[in-house]
Amino acid sequence: MGAIRTILLVEDSLGDVRLTQEAFRETGDTLRLHVVADGVEAISFLRHEGGYAGAPRPDLILLDLNLSKMDGRQVLAEIKQDDDLKTIPTVILTISDSEEDIETVYRLRANCYLTKPVEFDRFEDLVKSISDFWLTQVSLPQQTRIA
C-alpha cells in the first residue's frame, strides 16, 4: 500500500465531479484524480495528445455514459480496442440503469458497471466502495507497460 493511484474521471456534470472529488477525499487514499469533461478530451488525455502531452497513464478510469462530443460507449470502445490502453480497468459510473446499457457496455468490455445513486450519502458510499475495492483489493496492471 501507499502507492499513489491515478484516476481519470470522465464526467460532464460539474456537480457530480465535485461530489466524486469530495467522496474520494473522505477515503483518505493517496490518489490523484484527473477530470475531463467530454469524450474527445478523454481520448486526448489517454493518448497524450493536444494539451495532454504530460498526462499520466491512469490506473483506473471512471467513465460516464452520457457525454458531449463523444459518447461514453464510443470512448469505451476506443479504449478497449487500443492495445496500449485496453488493460486499464474502466468502470462505468452512470445515471442509467437500463438493461440495454448494462448489456452493451459489458460487451464493449467495461470492467464493471455502477449506477449513480441519487442521494448524496449513497453516492459517497459508492465512491468509497470503488476506492475500497478497486484501489485496495484488486491487483492493477503495472504502470506504463507496453506489451
Binding site: 438493461e99 448489456e103 459489458y106 460487451r107 468490455r109 464493471c112 466502495s129 491487483s139 503495472q142 507497460r145
Partner: protein, 144 residues
C-alpha cells in the same frame, strides 16, 4: 433473486473456504463449482451432463487449473458472443506482474490475488460479495 456464481477452482480446500466465506458474508448464492477448465467450458456451454445448468451471473476463475488453463478458459469466455458479457474475476495465488497483465489483456473484469491468511481470504470474499454481488450492476439473465 439468488445470484448464480460459477467458481472454477481445483483445490477442494479453497472451494470449501470460499463457500464458507460467502455463507459468513450473509449472502445466499447459488454457488456452482467446476474443478478444471474443461468442466468450466462444458458448464458454460451447457454440454453433456451440464445441459440443464443455469447461466452464471458471475464467474470466479483460478488461473492454474488442470486440463485447460484458466487463461485459456478466460480467452474462450471473452471470445464467445454468448458468454463474454458475464463478469469474470480472476482469483489466484499468483501475483506475478505477467499474469496480471495477461489477464487484463484477455479482458478479465478484474484480478484478485488470493491471500494466504485465512482472515484476509474471508475479507476478500466479503468484499467480492459487497462490491460485485451488491453494488455492481450485472447483465440480466437469459437475454437473447
Amino acid at each position: 433473486m439468488q445470484k448464480v456464481v460459477l467458481l472454477v477452482e481445483d483445490s477442494p480446500g479453497d472451494v470449501r473456504l470460499t463457500q464458507e466465506a460467502f455463507r459468513n458474508a450473509g449472502r445466499s448464492i447459488d454457488l456452482r463449482v467446476a474443478a478444471d477448465g474443461v468442466e468450466a467450458m462444458s458448464f458454460l456451454r451447457r454440454q453433456g451432463i451440464h445441459a440443464e445448468v443455469p447461466r452464471p451471473d458471475f464467474i470466479l476463475l483460478d488461473l492454474n487449473l488442470p486440463k485447460m488453463d484458466g487463461r485459456e478458459v478466460l480467452a474462450h469466455i471473452k471470445e464467445d458472443n454468448d458468454l463474454k458479457a458475464i463478469p469474470t474475476v480472476i482469483l489466484t495465488t499468483s501475483d506475478a506482474e505477467a499474469d496480471i497483465l495477461t489477464s487484463y489483456q484477455l479482458q478479465a473484469n478484474c484480478y484478485l490475488s488470493k491471500p494466504v491468511q485465512l482472515e484476509e481470504f474471508e475479507r476478500l470474499i466479503e468484499s467480492i460479495n459487497d462490491f460485485w454481488l451488491s453494488k455492481v450492476k450485472l447483465p440480466q439473465q437469459e437475454h437473447g
